[in-house]
Amino acid sequence: MIYKIIAKQAIEDLFKGLQENYDEVAGPRACGPAFVFDKLQHACELRLDYESTILPPTKYFLAPTERLMRFNRVTGESYDSEPVQTSRAIIGMHPCDINAVLLLDEIFLGDFIDPHYAAARKSTFIIGTSCMPTVGHICNAFGTDEIHRGFDLFLTDLDDRYLLSCRSVPALELVDKYLAASDPTAKDIDDFQERTKRFKDAFTFTPNMDQLPLLYGAKYNDEQLWKDVGDDCLCCGACAAVCPVCYCFDVCDKLDASGQTGLRYRSWDSCLKSEFAEVAHNHNFRPTRASRVRYRFYHKFVGNFSRQGKMLCVGCGRCMRACKVNITPARIIGALQQSQIDKEDATGDGIEKADDAE
């Protein structure tokens, strides 16, 4: 990694460089009371001070709907099945979202390669940016508050200047060509360390992750615990839609008006839908809301942890904002820990624990 220092207003030069080298520059911009990642025309639209966005930038790698192929129903031929990809630079991804991309890599670039995801990954230049935790950010619990790979360039905000971390050759070329950059001084390093400390101190709440996968397994059949959450759940799937690491999708065929040709596409799906785990004869492996919520968080905290060694949550807080009835990772973790405490209290052999979960 090579480190450089640039002035704040140099972002405009960086933006210009990106526009000259990529078909599209995407970044966070304001949208009403919220922020969204969108195609940007001018550097002035870019809002690097954003807290969070409605959808995560992972939408650029796994789109809400995506053509898998076109087909001719009569001849049985398929065509246009290869991905079309424009080159894109995404500026302003937070560490949690870059971590999310790394998690998705393990799913979509594993044994099987998803050609659409792979093409998008290959043609995207990622610029990360530092952030400050606010309400609902629990990335520190998942270790996703830091990022050391998965980006080309990373901007750390040092109030009046940025510390650049260059991780790829195209990034270095970009810096050389478009930016008036200097090497970091001892003061820059001090400020960077001070900022990191400020960042770590800004977390007001950290869920108690103690033994979470084991605890989840033990509480898997705690009917009351899951019924309480299931009773609240609106089954809308908004949490899954905004989650940067919810990758499940559905595949559908749509015929053209002529009835001869059509489109096979995939679209984001959610395990909270009643249809999700249904098989033939309308048999449903998760018929109740409680079972579906239980499964969703099981997959996040235990399923992927057992299968790939990592939890499928980056603590970005988007689902907390999207959910109308407060079904959040923090609540689930808190409920699991609390039910364990209740059990220990009831049996009288509870061990005093420093516990900051609710």
Binding site: M69, G76, S78
Partner: protein
């Protein structure tokens, strides 16, 4: 085995979402609800590269209707053709029932992990199927048939609700008289001419002799059947890690990405659909 398929897909540089066209070469109605379709991949290279193990599945594609995961019923030793035993249940399975010989469908796969054929070789096997469970088990039975010399005692127990619902009945009727297979059929509701056993498949275990150290079990059928059959096998001291079951989930992509077939912490399309009973016991929601 799915890692093998994945490797094949990588080497072919093939898009795993794109079905290969296959022609329907033969249609045999087994019951009013189930039909055996024989398919032939049209592209010769693909046909030659298509290798599978008993218990694996393909994604059957009818353009305009969608895809459905279907177990392969023919034996891996049968070259050039793939047989699928399909019950009319949903849109895709109904649609293929309306097709004729010569029509083209799409196939992706083979996907998933099948029965551990090589591990089973050299041992006795007890194969138990209920209802449509015979569809994936048929592949294993046929494969064992083709490699009969490599196995010890082969016992096949088939259960169905009534005689008219027994799949491949004519074929198995003949097997009943073979020396090299112990095949027993049982139905819940016999008709007037039924000369097989009556009752649940678990009843057939009473007189069965199993050498637990030298036997593998394989069970396919409705999920409710598994615990009862496994219990019978365990009574004969067969270990749960020597018993294999095939489980049903909604495999959509077949390649471990779409999430629909998750069972516990695993994906049925990658780590399954065949699991050892021991593995299945350790998966939430599996049984």
């Amino acid at each position: 085995m799915s890692a093998l398929t994945a490797k094949a897909y990588r080497e072919l540089g093939a898009n795993p979402y794109r079905p290969w066209p296959a022609r329907i070469t033969s249609i045999t109605e087994l019951t009013p609800k189930e039909t055996l379709f024989e398919l032939r991949l049209i592209d010769k290279n693909v046909r030659d590269a298509f290798e599978f193990t008993a218990g694996q599945f393909v994604e059957l594609s009818i353009f305009g209707v969608g895809e459905a995961p279907i177990s392969i019923s023919s034996a891996p030793s049968k070259q050039g053709f793939i047989e699928l035993c399909i019950r009319k249940t949903g849109s895709v399975t109904n649609a293929i029932h309306r097709m004729r010989c010569g029509d083209v469908v799409g196939l992706r796969g083979p996907f998933g992990r099948g029965f551990p054929f090589e591990k089973m070789m050299g041992h006795d096997v007890v194969l138990v199927a209920g209802g449509l469970g015979i569809a994936p088990l048929k592949s294993l039975i046929n494969h064992i048939h083709d490699e009969r010399h490599a196995f010890g005692k082969v016992t096949i127990l088939l259960g169905a609700r009534n005689p008219s619902e027994i799949l491949f009945r004519q074929e198995f009727d003949m097997w009943r008289h073979r020396q090299d297979f112990d095949l027993i059929m049982t139905v819940d509701q016999p008709d007037s001419v039924w000369d097989g056993e009556v009752g649940l498949v678990t009843r057939l275990f009473t007189d069965l002799e199993i050498d637990p150290g030298n036997t593998y079990g394989a069970i396919c059928g409705p999920p409710v059947m598994y615990p009862f059959v496994v219990e019978e096998m365990r009574k004969k001291d067969l270990n749960v890690d020597r018993i294999y079951v095939s489980i049903e989930r909604r495999m959509k992509c077949g390649i471990g990405m779409c999430g629909h077939c998750a069972v516990g912490h695993q994906y049925t399309c990658i780590e399954g659909p065949v699991f050892s009973y021991w593995e299945a016991l350790n998966l939430e929601e599996a049984l």
